[in-house]
Symmetry: none
Subunit: 266 residues, 2 copies
DNA sequence: CCCGAATATGCTTATTTCTGCCGTTTTACG
DNA sequence: CGTAAAACGGCAGAAATAAGCATATTCGGG
């Protein structure tokens, strides 16, 4: 019966290499902060026994921590950040995947910090050849694995809560940049108040990023639409794209489309 | 049977040289992120054994990673990074712990990239209240969890192998810094050749760090003493401290002590 | 022009690895 | 406790691999 399943969905997943499968497991683990055996078994179209063997071997290499029912990251340091990422992994991943579609080869892209932007970094297609400029150390580390991406990190004082560079040094560096595209995570999005965020320093950096890019993309989950955070980044007129979830009702997005912004539902 | 067909066609089409075939393999690997032996055998009209030999040789040159059934791109740099961190955890941790003893409250410290420096970051006492300036995103991330450390990250182009910022932007930022202490990982340490490292850009950054600090500490494991790497960072006279393993015999360290450097055995 | 070494390739055979399945034991949780 | 899920160990078929051998091609020197 498992055979039938395999046959029915027999995409070329049959050609999945063992080592490739294990890399995938580690990738998911890094992205979501945990892996579950039934989910992996379904995703990878292999038996749960095989997944257990994979996890056992990976744990033997010290690459993850095996627990009942799945596995967790071995390093506790990434766990916090990963846990936060776990909040809405589905929606964020979908938004991120859609956002990568706006990037074309040989572009220079300013990528914001934050968990949504990190998802974008992790979902960049392997063939995509771009330069990514980011104030976020975790994003820089994540992109170091990408074979075709050149990474530039913006220096500055590290704002620990969001793990991004902020301050005068960051803004100085930004002034020397002319990017094709800028992808921002936002704290709030409002037809009249525009783009806003939770921290003053972050707001300055986001504004600098907008000023250094030809086109601006805002990444936002559903619940942030038509809300405002304390610090204003800039008016809606600076946005060219909004990428959000597909569940958002049309009438909520109408004001943004009327403002000339292309809205992409993921 | 299949044999004859292949032979006949292969003689005609055999403008395909061995080296050409291998370049094709690498091209496919770069494009698809993996190669499968049966597919390559069919594409290239050679036996699977030949493909296996090709992959074996290419793996020997470090151009790909051989796995059961095919090959994958070489392990991403962070895998190397993680693996390197496990290499000598004992010695490195001891060196790192000893190095933290050189740091006092309210200092500004330049902390190099690399696995040894990362150990220093992870061993900073919780009560220590300092500013850490670093070109290494992983170190910045690690220090974000520290309650009393202010982190400043140096921007620049990310050198993926070592996960540190390099380039003119990094050096520019360094010129605006006056630090009390600078902690360097070294590639080699030699009484006459001084401090050296494996990468030219890294050497520039290390030199910039030395120039921006009042005192300089070199962190080195035993096997690097009295060796030299290709790129010179600077003479021994710029060093104030060397932190190394306790197992190093006295006579090896004598030249450094005679040069006025305080040697600390951890 | 011919011979022989070096290389490259394909084939055969023995060995190893991978994977799903099954039965048993252990763990998590009400 | 008791139940269901999860984990472990062993087994067998299939695939992949390594090792050794045979053949073909190339190249250099008599």
């Amino acid at each position: 019966m498992q055979n039938q399943v395999i046959l029915r969905t027999s995409r070329k997943i049959n050609a999945m290499l063992t080592a490739e499968r294990r890399r995938y497991i580690l990738e998911v683990l890094g992205r979501d902060g945990k892996v579950l055996i039934p989910a992996l078994s379904a995703d990878l179209r292999v038996s749960e026994d095989t997944v257990r063997r994979d996890l056992r071997d990976l744990a033997g290499e010290g690459l993850l921590q095996r627990v009942h029912g799945g596995a967790l990251p071995r390093s506790p340091s990434t766990a916090n950040y990963a846990a936060r990422q776990q909040q809405a992994p589905d929606a964020k991943a979908r938004i991120a995947r859609a956002a990568t579609g706006l990037i074309t080869n040989d572009q220079v892209v300013l990528l914001d910090g934050g968990t949504t932007a990190l998802q974008v970094a992790q979902h960049l297609p392997h063939e995509l050849r771009v330069t990514i400029i980011t104030p976020s150390p975790p994003i820089a580390v994540a992109l170091a694995e990408h074979p075709n991406v050149e990474v530039v990190i913006l220096g500055g004082k590290l704002y620990k809560h969001a793990l991004v560079s902020v301050g005068a040094a960051t803004l100085d560096s930004l002034r020397m940049v002319r990017a094709d595209l800028c992808m921002l995570g936002v704290g709030g999005l409002h037809p009249e108040l525009g783009v806003s965020t939770d921290d003053l320093e972050e707001a300055h950096v986001k504004r600098g990023m907008i000023d250094s890019a030809a086109e601006v993309v805002a990444l936002t989950s559903a619940e942030k639409i038509n809300t405002a955070s304390p610090y204003i980044v800039g008016p809606l007129s600076q946005l060219d794209y909004i990428v959000t979830e597909s569940e958002v009702p049309d009438h909520l997005l109408r004001p943004y489309e009327n403002a000339g912004i292309a809205v992409i539902r993921a």
